[in-house]
Amino acid sequence: MTTLAFILLIIAVIVGYAINRVAARSIREGGNKLHSLTTYHGLFSALLILVPVLTFILLWLVLQGSVMDRMVMNGLQDGVLDGLDSGSTQLVLAEIKSISRGQIFGTPEDWKIAAADQYVAIQGRSAWLLVIAVALMALGLMAFARSRVSAQFRARQGVEGIVTGLMIFCSTVAIFTTIGIVVSLTYETFRFFDAVPVTEFLFGTNWEPQIPLRADQIAAEGAFGWLPVFLGTLVITFIALIVAVPVGLFSAIYLNEFAPKKLRSVIKPMLEILAGVPTIVYGFFAILVVAPALRSLGQSIGLDVAPNTALAAGSVMGIMLIPFISSFADDALSAVPYTLREGALGLGATRAEMMTNVLFPAALPGIVGGVLLAVSRAIGETMIVVMAAGLMAKMTINPLDSVTTVTVQIVTLLIGDTSFDNPKTLAAFTLGMMLFLVTLLINIFALRIVRKYREAYD
């Protein structure tokens, strides 16, 4: 039935387009000068039908489930739901629905079978209602659009208005989604802080979230100080950037200014392929190659290196980030006008002087943009760290020790046996919130730095 509604919509759009276009053309052939091209008259009708009806269908599909549920539950006999909490009520509804699909377990009570029959009936009615509503709406809009066709009617402005509206909608979808994510995270964060004091979370140096889910489980008391976890993220991010920023920048500078064209045309695509390697592959590399190599190297010079180290994870993550930084920096350097290069060379600057004094400052915003992206990736990176850095939260900045990061802890908190009102689970959302805030702060900070030091070239 939904398919039928969509087919009706498509037909209405096409017919509306044709009717308006033909009407407009007959006005023109009658000797009047049209304000807009006939195509715009057609498009005006088509868009006027498409946008509201499509929105209506989608809203209907989203909302019909909960409305039908409510109708069925309200239609039950008085008293059968007495004494049930919300969870059990949900179970009753689920049972009614599965009966309505013909999946009957055991012998359900008569009132449940009756409710299931009613559910089926409502479903059928709802589908027909949708089709009828769509047909009526489409006809109404088509008639309205047709009534607007005249020589003076500004169909082009109408179409442009609708399309502008669509573009505004598209450009704000991502923003509203982000706001939605932040709101839901905030909600869970406050629930977490009901169970665990804010100060303990922010300033505690002990992270042991494995608390019992049920009364009979044996587990730790639980401690939710995020500092060791955050410190782990900082250490690994720092190591990754120490690897990625110099290597990425130097490779960008070489490719942009000094590399022969042929070499550049080989190296640049290869670097970009690096950016497409799945992080889990880097994780394998870290745990199978880098970590053992570090360990044996450490032993040979008498250092005690843990099997999982921040250094292994961080350095491999750094390799992963090289292409981001180098390709951003390369693009930024290429965007600096050629006249500036010639200006510097014409004054007798060497290419190195030109690069450091002129091109680099001019390209700074783009370069910082690449580094920022790399920082965000490093903070958010999970897979390499899970595999190569470990799960134990330790308050250490020793790169040869095993550390854990915020993202890894979020993963471990949310997999396995969880319940959504437990501080252990809620802690994951709180960590996510903190991660969001930290990256936001870094971005704001970096933008201010760039604004202060950039050398705008036009």
């Binding site: 014409g346 007798g348 036009d458």
Partner: protein, 265 residues
């Protein structure tokens, strides 16, 4: 033509600064400059004129080896500066370019402060011994660029914030600051309005006292106004090279005559 000239012609043609012999330039397969021979005198303004694509800019860029920065460009022949072959292996192009300054078609101030723009050259060549020394160099260059009075109160403001004509004079001052012996100008006024052009032309005439100036221009009036010697290029050949008033009043070659009377180009 004569009435447009404001420069006296009684220049004493002292020594020859640059000698070019049999210079050929190839861009890939294109033969851009064909056997050009020219002598450029010191303390003189030499103008290169000719239709678009005739190779005048390319030849200009040979004189400070800016063509080295273009991969596919190949220069042969002999160019001597004060008797020294500039394409010789012993010559560092970087030092050559400090000696032979260049001003480009589009004003290209660095996105730095006005002061740093001028100080750039002296800094990379270590011309200033102290901060006060550098201040003096900057002021002298800006005065010679005829822009000191306009910018002296805002030396810390970005050079990109100036108007087009001011930017070009800033670029000339920047080139002058490294104390070059020769100043190459590649259509320095083509992006400027008539008033700014007049200011730059006046400046070029001033500069003639200290430097040998070579200017590429599209405008024959400009060549007539500012130069003492004029070279006419056509399709990569140097067609005619003579005193400016000779070229404009009594051209020897029929192609030159057609060009200056507006029949070709």
């Amino acid at each position: 033509m004569n009435d447009m000239r404001k420069i006296e012609r009684d220049v004493k043609m002292t020594d020859t600064k640059i000698t070019a012999r049999n210079v050929n330039v190839h861009y890939g397969d294109t033969h851009a400059i064909k056997d050009v021979n020219v002598d450029i005198a010191d303390k003189t303004v030499t103008a290169f004129i000719g239709p678009s694509g005739c190779g005048k800019s390319t030849f200009l860029r040979c004189l400070n080896r800016m063509n080295d920065t273009i991969d596919i460009c190949r220069v042969t022949g002999k160019i001597e500066l004060d008797g020294q072959d500039i394409n010789d292996k012993s010559i560092d192009p970087v030092q050559l370019r400090a000696q032979v300054g260049m001003v480009f078609q589009k004003p290209n101030p660095f996105p730095k402060s006005i002061y740093d723009n001028i100080a750039y050259g002296p800094r990379i060549h270590g011309l200033a011994k102290s901060k006060t020394d550098l201040d003096e160099i900057v002021e002298r260059a800006l005065r010679r660029g005829a822009i000191w009075n306009e910018v002296k109160d805002r030396l810390d403001k970005p050079g990109t914030g100036l108007s087009g004509g001011q930017q070009q004079r800033l670029c000339i001052a920047r080139a002058v600051a490294t104390e070059p012996e020769i100043l190459l100008m590649d259509e320095p006024c083509s992006a400027l309005d008539p008033i700014a052009t007049a200011q730059v032309e006046e400046l070029i005439d001033e500069l003639r006292r200290d430097y040998s100036v070579v200017i590429v221009t599209h405008s024959m009036q400009q060549a007539a106004r500012v130069s003492q010697k004029t070279a006419f290029f056509h399709l990569g050949n140097l067609v005619e090279f003579n005193d400016t008033d000779q070229i404009f009043t009594n051209p020897q070659d029929s192609r030159t005559e057609s060009y200056i009377t507006g029949k070709i180009g």
